[in-house]
Symmetry: C2
Subunit: 218 residues, 2 copies
């Protein structure tokens, strides 16, 4: 017997006000906003390869409109945890909820297809420093908590509820762009992405002449 | 028709002299050597879950002997590139050669099983900063070159030879332990590993009380 494919509702949280402040040593405020938007576009387009636009929502504290975006916009000023948990509680039966961070420009349709197909009541893709870069929730009991090493918090929460927790092991999904060393990873692996092209247009490139590849700006 | 499973010869390069110098801000020289050995043991034991000991070799410029190690030791003072390339050239027909770095303590038998099963003439698992953390070579034409962003060098070499190059996308295989921020990842994800237990015995732990998890020593 083949079960009907469950609908997956994808949420992409996005905060346009002073984004990516840990990049202020290498990017102006305007550049950081444009980078954040181009990364969101990369994430959206990767998700769109496997999910219909009507099942993709950007959650933002402010209105959001772009010509390339055909998904839904949920303007919500509550905390990320409150927004996401209310979506999990209110999901339709059998629907799954996936929370994909907006700063994962190295995602692809192939990675997301594997992620959405992974077994488990809760599937989580770790970022560095204990972050939860992608989360797939198939049980309405589960609640998210996105601070202080959220990956392990999500693992413990699932286990305490008797839910099956699966680690989705992907380097490309682990690279969230927070610090200059992350921008290096984007310039190394992101050829063809909108965010890569934006950074290249600002003059960023990788210098391969020293022992380790180094991020530079012309 | 089912092809006979090719033999995979695994090489683990190991340099015991003043290892992991970028950790000297948090570890003494003796501690760094013990950490390097415990990581090698983690890697060896993960490989042993899927590969016979006789097909595992440590390459080292100095003799190497440990009671937990049943593989072969190749004492070779040449550069890593020369050692590995001569192994690739001299492999038996159909044998594959895998080069697994010795500082990847988060590897598991499951990850290695998937890595060894991946399609491609050359399969590479990226580390951060353009490194090649694991490499599987199924064609004797291929040559390695481990400096200056080796991952992209290996990709270009394969493509220039008309070989199929496959990216093996794993976060846990991407974490090579070079810097203190990498030790944080080991203490976050490495519970049960020899290297984790060694660092815990030195007093290292993760402080979850601040915004980001932080590595501390008692």
């Amino acid at each position: 017997m083949t079960a009907a494919m469950d609908v997956i509702n994808v949420i992409i949280p996005f905060k346009p006000s002073n984004p990516k402040s840990r990049l202020s040593s290498i990017l102006s405020r305007d550049e950081r906003l444009l980078l954040a938007e181009s990364m969101l576009r990369d994430v959206y387009e990767a998700v769109r390869e496997v999910i219909d636009a009507e099942n993709i929502a950007v959650i933002s504290p402010e209105p959001f409109q772009k010509e390339w975006f055909q998904g839904r916009v949920l303007v919500d000023e509550r905390s990320l945890d409150e927004c996401v948990n209310s979506t999990i509680i209110n999901r339709c039966s059998n629907d799954a909820v996936a929370i994909i961070m907006s700063d994962l420009p190295l995602l692809s349709g192939k990675i997301l297809q594997e992620f959405f197909s992974a077994d488990g009541d809760v599937v989580a893709a770790p970022g560095r420093k204990g972050g939860t870069n992608m989360l797939l929730v198939r049980d309405s009991k589960f609640r998210v908590s996105y601070h202080f090493g959220s990956f392990f918090r999500h693992m413990r929460t699932a286990e305490s509820m008797g839910l099956r927790f699966t680690i989705f092991d992907s380097f490309l999904a682990s690279v969230d762009i927070d610090e200059p060393s992350d921008v290096l990873e984007l310039m190394l692996h992101g050829s063809g992405k909108h965010s890569y092209q934006f950074l290249a247009s600002l003059g960023f490139y990788v210098d391969f002449s020293s022992k380790d590849p180094t991020l530079r700006r012309r």
